[in-house]
Amino acid sequence: MEFGLSEEQTLLQDSVKRFLAEQYPLDKVREFATNDDDGAIVRNGLAAMGITALMIDEDHGGVGLGLLDAALIAEALGHGTAPMPFVASVVMVPQALMLGGSSEQQDRWLPKLAAGEITAGAAISELTGARGDTGVTATNGRLSGRAMFVLDFEADIYLVADTNGALHIVDADAQGLSGKGFNTVDCTRKLGELSFDNVPAEALSCTAQQVATVLNSGRVILAADSLGAAQNMLDQSVAYALQREQFNRVIASFQAVKHMCAEMAAELEPCRAMIWYAGHTADAESNANNNSNNGEAQQYALHTKAHLSEVCQFVARTATEVHGGMGFTDLVGLHYWFKRIGANRQLLGSPERLRDDAARALGMVN
């Protein structure tokens, strides 16, 4: 019995963290945020490390790791506020292709995704709550309508959900498709929206449960991203408090500051094990290849995303307070992590919605 990371897992996570610490310091985060940098160094560097091949099976040029491994990488990406197309490009879209793609589709897209030659976005947010008049309808293999909140925007292909919950793959160059960026408060990653005017699309044959699995994978990834970001904010808070002096003392010696840091740690530390478990149980169900699963992976995905959203928001606010006025400025750049956590909270289902979904999945809602 072992509930912990293998040496390989720790090494992989550390290597991504180290890469980001070296190649993507705060100045680069700022440049990306102001569109002065396109994030190519991170994208290419991580692709070269094999990150893009992570979840793709070996037959298609991947390394066939699971959601737990992906979550560990996501944690490192959140820790470094990396501008890496990941949740859709490396996790959700490959998983959708592997679950519901024809072998022709798999052969066409997976090797390129694995090699990092192309990236993939996901226009799937409407499945977790369509805002306003958005929604994409499918008729005879053609898509029309509008999708907002497209994850990993500016991709080469997109995974698109229609209003019936079916999934499609669309080429970014397809006729009738137009897109534009959806600027958000979080400038560390790209979000976009897509308009479909009778756009040719390839249907995937995912079951409703497989679609749920893809969504849940995305949720665990976003939660892990927040964990990394929040851990970084906590670490920065302790370091700042240990050097900042007021009233002739380092502020870390004030009980109020100590307790704020202790509360952050107390809330955050159990989240780490929760992410591990959410990843592990999803992998276990997927390996069992068992469609009549007991729903544990579903419950963990929903609750992990909901719980970490709440905890990490608390950490983000408290860490900012520990930094005092500095936390509010761009000088220490703490707000990039604050905003990334804020974005993860809203994407693929807010905590309120996910808790409601979890109760529904258990048949608690009449």
Partner: protein
């Protein structure tokens, strides 16, 4: 209990309303700073007694008797008719009362009128990178060289520094005195050589504040307010006024109304957000807290009018409670919008011009600024509840425990 303002005041309200009706078309909407339009409106307001109402006429004010209820009525009527209430700024809210209290006759004559008229704009130089919560630890030094102070150092959180003509500034003039006793209060022109302004971008993405650097800035000796070494006292007579204003319950009610409207408008899968019970419950929770804050404010207003004093705690808690409540109010709006709540900058889907997200962050800034919540709790426990001050410490340590 008598919540009516009484006949005399209703008469006054009618007068104000009449003035506003008369100037409905001539009052400027968003006047430029220093514009003829702005200055002329300012003078009209002062003459009518709706601005600088209690500042003595000899210094350019209206010279009226203090009357909190009249001030409130003026504020209410201007807000109701959305009429520009005159130029604000730290010169008017902080420097003018300081000069009235501690300035020399010459200083009052020189500075108050142009400040009130909006011809002379000020910024405030108090906080420093190393002096935030511990403001008295400030290190910007002024050394007397002949008839001039020579100022060197750095200020931070200086709003409107780029726009200001002058600065009022706390500097250390007696480096060997105990920290609160070595500070002086200087005034000088922002055109003085040796001043550099750097905009300070904050988490909202805007530069709401600045850093200001002083290198051998030479200030005439007599541009000091109060005695040398007494700047802390001079500044503190009005510093406390700043804090309460960060948590205005009327502004809160205004935002709450907007929040209800937002929840009634936004939809998820075709359902209005207000019909989602968990959001509605949060809205109602916040509503209750806003109601409590408004009642507390009414109590403070009444205390001021009737000079009953008597509830220092009620005043002490407003900054802590108000800024945190406001942050949570804005947070509910962001959450209720879901991914739309993330929209920012030039995103065409912004609701309310992006103000929900901006204010959510800005009020986190205000939780910290003007005395952090931690400092507020120190104040409440020490001054409000009579608990001991933070004890003196044997030695500062930078080391963690084993």
């Amino acid at each position: 209990m008598d919540l009516s303002y009484g006949a005399e005041y209703e008469e006054f309200r009618a007068e104000v309303a009449e003035f506003l009706a008369k100037h409905k078309d001539t009052a400027p909407k968003n006047p430029e700073l220093r514009s003829v339009e702005a200055i002329s409106w300012q003078k009209t307001l002062i003459e009518a007694g709706y601005f600088a109402r209690t500042t003595p006429a000899e210094y350019g004010g209206h010279g009226g008797k203090p009357d909190i209820l009249k001030s409130r009525i003026i504020a209410e009527e201007f807000a109701r008719t959305r009429t520009h209430p005159g130029m604000g700024g730290q010169g008017i809210s902080m420097l003018v009362p300081t000069l009235l209290e501690s300035g020399t006759q010459a200083q009052k004559e020189q500075f108050i009128q142009p400040t009130l008229h909006g011809e002379m704009l000020w910024c405030q130089g108090y906080s420093e990178p190393g002096a935030g919560s511990d403001l008295a630890a400030l290190r910007t030094a002024a050394v007397l060289d002949g008839d001039e102070w020579v100022v060197n150092g750095q200020k931070i959180w200086t709003s409107t520094a780029q726009l200001a003509d002058w600065i009022f500034c706390l500097v250390r003039t007696e480096p060997d005195a105990p920290k609160h006793q070595g500070i002086s209060f200087l005034l000088f022109s922002m055109d003085t050589p040796g001043i550099e302004i750097r905009p300070l971008v904050d988490m909202t993405g805007k530069a709401n504040f600045n850093e200001v650097f002083f290198t051998d800035v030479r200030v005439p000796k007599n541009q000091i307010v109060g005695a040398r070494g007494e700047g802390w006292k001079v500044a503190n007579t009005i510093l406390k006024h700043e804090r309460g204003s960060l948590a205005d319950p009327n502004a809160m009610q205004h935002r709450l109304n907007g929040l209800v409207e937002l929840l009634e408008t936004e939809t998820v899968d075709g359902t209005r957000v207000i019909d989602i019970p968990s959001f509605r419950d949060r809205l109602m929770r916040i509503t209750g807290r806003v109601m409590a804050a408004k009642c507390n404010d009414l109590r403070l207003l009444s205390n001021s009018i009737n000079k009953t004093g008597g509830s220092p705690l009620a005043a002490m808690v407003t900054k802590l409670q108000g800024t945190e409540l406001r942050h949570e109010l804005e947070a509910l709006a962001v959450d209720a919008m879901g991914e739309i709540g993330l929209a920012y900058g030039d995103n065409e889907h912004l609701r309310g011009g992006g103000s929900w997200q901006t204010q959510y962050m800005y009020f986190l800034g205000l939780i910290i600024g003007g005395g952090t919540s931690q400092i507020q709790k120190n104040i409440i426990s020490e001054r409000g509840l009579g608990m001991p001050r933070e004890p003196k410490v044997v030695a500062a340590t930078k080391q963690g425990a084993a």
